[in-house]
Subunit: 300 residues, 2 copies
């Protein structure tokens, strides 16, 4: 295939002699892969990512490619398309020499689904998180206005049903497409979803109503464009609630970790001990200490 | 470039004469594009998606590709990689002839969250889906082995608790990172989650157990690496269950549309009418007729 791009091919490719040590990470959805290996005895990381399909070369792509039939059913058929290389490039990044820090940065930890019964929570998870005594001082700093006070969007100071609402760090507040706010409750005795009972319904409905109203007024984003949910496991054990734009596939909004606030409210209305007894399913990374605890208990 | 795959190239490519009308949707993140156009005066939709980078062909890919330098800075450098076509395929799906419904389905639209009570389901949603009488003939073709029979991975023929398991269209089966299978039940009287009661627990647990066992044996993917869930609303009203790799953020696995099978089973064990009465939250696109029905009923 003739190459119509400017620029010359390298006579010696920097990756042709690359010896693969291991795959650090890859994404089938994003079509990329991060590889650790060696180039001439030097540590290196090579990142490959397929390029987006360009609208301006579509006609040429469809005209000049070859196809193999895979499957046909009714009006649907699928093919393997073999495209000219210059219309189907792979973006390649080389880090060489790579330090241990580079390698760690790109390494993805494997993720496993864990099923935790109410009993497992009390005998494995609760002792683990108590022993770790993860610091939530930064949360208390926010609640006491010792930090980030200027970032608070709204506050209800009620000690039982009150909360502060502020933008998540991941959101730069420049556009509403990836809107992401967090409501943090004033009460300090609710670690997570597991602690919630019907006693907390006034708190939860208050957060839902005031949070949605505030976001509507401040950002003109209506509640029908908002995904409002809790994480289990949360990343810190002080109750907080996520408000994200429905248009934004926020990390952690997958069914295996997120719980819609409206479902939580309904479940507690029907059964005050719903989250006390239920088997909860959640993902844990290999390097998460809690995964080890579940393994040691023979639960995985 | 020599092609090492089995199968012949088609002498006449079904897309070479494709005339592009407009781009319905594309994703730079997922490297796909949905195109509306015409093939020999027939309306058609062509979907192109680059394939995930395969670990088993990496060495060959790095050895046999040509590179052009783009940028060099300190330890970092970037390149355009031109790969042999057989190592860098584009998955192509053709819908032809395509109806207006197909075109609408793939056109990017704004999305709204809808809350549907049990009463709303019976007075708005059920009459709407009955009136539309969406064809599920293609599902019956699979169940009756009139199409895709060779793609079936496992079958339990029991009329009450049986199902077929087969790869989803979206998965090319070349790597397990984006594993995606669908279990379709033999029973034809269950439209969706809304119809499920404790009567269906043997069906659901059978699908869960046999589905997970089969995937473990055939693909060596254990149940702790599987996300098993139902959609509500589903894209077709014949009960089916999604099995996706936990490593793959499959479209539609967000908390606003997906329901973990293990949660569904538990909820039905606790309350047979859970899904009959519950307020269900789900996203609808602007062009979805159901959204209009909810608007007309003053529910949005």
């Amino acid at each position: 295939n003739e190459c119509k791009d400017t620029g010359e091919f390298l006579s010696e490719s920097p990756v042709s002699g690359f010896e693969i040590t291991r795959i650090l990470r890859d994404s089938a959805r994003e079509k990329n892969i991060f590889i650790h290996g060696k180039v001439k005895d030097q540590d290196a990381v090579v990142i490959l990512e397929k390029t987006p399909i360009r609208q301006d070369t579509l006609t040429e792509l469809l005209k000049s490619s070859e196809l193999k039939l895979e499957m046909r059913n009714d009006v649907y058929s699928t093919y393997q398309l073999h495209a000219p290389a210059h219309l189907n490039q792979i973006k390649t990044t080389v880090v060489c020499p790579a330090t241990e820090k580079h390698v760690k940065k790109y390494l993805r930890q494997e993720i496993f689904l864990v099923e935790e019964s109410g009993e497992d929570y009390r005998s494995i998870t609760l002792p683990y998180i108590s022993k770790q005594s993860f610091s939530v001082q930064w949360v208390y700093n926010i609640l006491e206005k010792k930090a980030e006070a200027d970032r608070i969007i709204c506050e209800d100071p009620d000690p039982d049903t009150g909360f502060v609402l502020l933008p998540d760090f991941k959101w730069d507040q420049k556009q509403n497409e990836d809107l992401y706010l967090i409501a943090i409750v004033h009460r300090r005795d609710i670690k997570s979803l597991r602690d919630l009972t019907s006693e907390h319904l006034p708190l939860l409905t208050n957060i839902r109503n005031k949070g949605e109203d505030t976001i509507q007024k401040r950002y003109s984003v209506p509640s029908s464009k908002l995904r409002v949910y809790l994480h289990y496991q949360p990343s810190y054990y002080h109750l907080h609630i996520h408000f994200t734009s429905l248009d934004y596939e926020a990390p952690g909004c997958g069914v295996e970790r997120a719980h819609l606030l409206s479902d939580v409210i309904q479940n507690l209305q029907a059964d005050s001990s719903y989250y006390h007894n239920r088997i909860m399913t959640f993902p844990l990374r290999t390097d998460d200490g809690l995964l080890l605890e579940f393994k040691d208990a023979g639960k995985l």
